[in-house]
């Protein structure tokens, strides 16, 4: 008979070897593939490491069971959630300190005694960076940033949970504004596993009737980082980036900015902030109109004032010019009178000129009379009578 061990003996040997090889707790990085807390309060996990660590679909190259005993559950879960903002759950990559046990009956098990949340935070951040890089590589990163945002947003499609406090706040803020905004809710699940498909379905429904809206608001009130993880989803971000209407995001996170915020045309902090932004934009446009009306009024005033001034000036001119025309005529008459006066006969007689008359009339030539004719000569103060004695005298 060959030398053999009983199964228990074999397991004892392995157990001893394991204990000897790893006597102290060690740090191990792995992905949680399953996690459940049973009724007794202990938490059982299935840890895996995958080829190339490229997503949950990759083939596992190592796996092990792990446990967090009830007395550590509260402390470790609390520390993890405090550090990452997420609850421990399947799909997360973790760095844990484990005591390696090999029990003859239960086999290999890792007892988790500590957890490093910073590792998970870093991994999530790396995932987020990969999503960002992929969107840039796809050429869609700036597409929503460059959509034209109407000066006034009057018809808005809302992606939100119908019962969320954030949605209520949003509607309340809009309703308190003097500007009317038409809202249409496209209800979606805004957290958890279903959220990706649900938000994408809502966006698709809006895209089908995009001409009925001016913009889309994706709103979600405050929540833990885990609740808002879906807004780092590649698929949702891809839809938002390529959306034909400007997307306003109001995802209430206190720390990080989600990828959806980064690709949305207008990223805002909270649902209320989105509503406020819409109202302020309307108010700004209202102000522009007010200003334009003021300018228009001023222009009209200028036109009427200058027209009025011109009329006043014309009225004065009519008066002045008419007076001028009369004056000019008076002067003309006066100058004519002067000429007439200069040629008046009485004036000429005074100067020594005389009028000689024969029977036939005024003598203007020697041929008008004969020698011996009696003629009269008119001078200033009377008439002389004379006789023509000679008429052959020449002028000097």
């Amino acid at each position: 008979m060959r030398e053999s061990f009983s199964l228990y003996e074999l397991q004892r040997i392995v157990s001893a070897a394991v204990e000897q090889a790893l006597p102290l707790p060690v740090w191990v990085s792995a992905e949680i593939s399953e996690l459940k807390v049973n009724s007794s309060g202990h938490c059982y996990l299935e840890l895996v490491e995958r080829e190339q660590s490229s997503g949950s679909g990759a083939v596992a190259k190592a796996s092990a069971r792990a446990v967090i005993w009830k007395n550590r559950v509260m402390q470790l879960f609390g520390a993890f959630e405090g550090g990452t903002g997420k609850r421990l759950a399947a799909g997360l990559k973790i760095l844990v300190q484990v005591i390696v046990n090999f029990h003859p009956l239960y086999g290999l098990s890792l007892q988790i005694v500590d957890i490093d949340p910073a590792y998970t935070v870093g991994d999530l951040e790396r995932q987020k960076q990969r999503t960002i890089e992929q969107l840039k590589k796809d050429g869609v990163w700036d597409m929503n940033h460059t959509t034209a945002i109407p000066k006034v947003i009057q018809r808005i499609a809302i992606v939100s949970s119908a019962t969320a406090a954030g949605y209520r706040d949003f509607m309340q803020e809009l309703n308190s504004s003097p500007y009317r905004v038409e809202t249409t809710l496209f209800a979606a699940v805004m957290q958890g596993e279903e959220s990706e498909q649900s938000v994408v379905a809502a966006l698709t429904a809006i895209a089908d009737c995009s001409e009925e809206f001016d913009a889309v608001a994706i709103i979600r009130g405050g929540g833990s980082t885990a609740d808002l993880e879906c807004f780092n989803s590649y698929l949702i971000s891809l839809y938002v980036a390529q959306f034909p209407l400007p997307v306003l995001s109001g995802i209430g996170h206190d720390k990080d900015t989600s990828v959806v915020d980064m690709v949305a045309a207008v990223p805002l902090k909270t649902p209320t902030a989105v509503a406020t932004w819409i109202c302020e934009r309307a108010a700004a446009f209202d102000g522009e109109l007010e200003y334009a009306a003021m300018l228009l009024r001023e222009c009209c005033k200028k036109v009427t004032t200058s027209a009025s001034t011109l009329l006043e000036q014309y009225q004065r001119s009519i008066h002045d010019f008419a007076k001028g025309a009369i004056l000019r005529q008076k002067e003309r008459l006066a100058s004519y009178a002067l000429v007439a006066e200069n040629f008046a006969p009485t004036r000429l007689l005074k100067l020594g000129f005389a009028v000689a008359r024969a029977k036939s009339g005024v003598i203007s030539s020697t041929t008008d009379v004969e020698c011996g004719d009696k003629i009269t000569i008119e001078v200033t103060d009377g008439i002389l009578t004379a006789e023509v004695i000679d008429k052959n005298g020449k002028k000097d």
């Binding site: 009209c300 009519i318 005529q329």
Partner: protein, 63 residues
């Protein structure tokens, strides 16, 4: 001379300007002087009324 008084602001202004020019010219006809001044005054009054109305209409629009 029953000239039409229902004319546009621009036509009225053009006529006023034409009368002003005539009044300034050396050979201004004395006999028609008074008629011209009367016509120009009527036109100025007409323009003024039109202007006041325009002003009031504009103000009403901004109320």
């Amino acid at each position: 001379m029953a000239k039409k008084i229902d004319i546009s602001y621009t036509e009225a202004m053009a006529e006023i300007e034409s009368i002003l020019k005539q009044l300034q010219s050396a050979d201004c006809d004395v006999e028609s002087l008074a008629t011209k001044v009367k016509r120009a005054s009527e036109l100025i009054e007409l323009c003024r009324k039109k202007l006041y109305k325009a002003e009031a209409d504009v103000e009403k629009l901004f109320e």
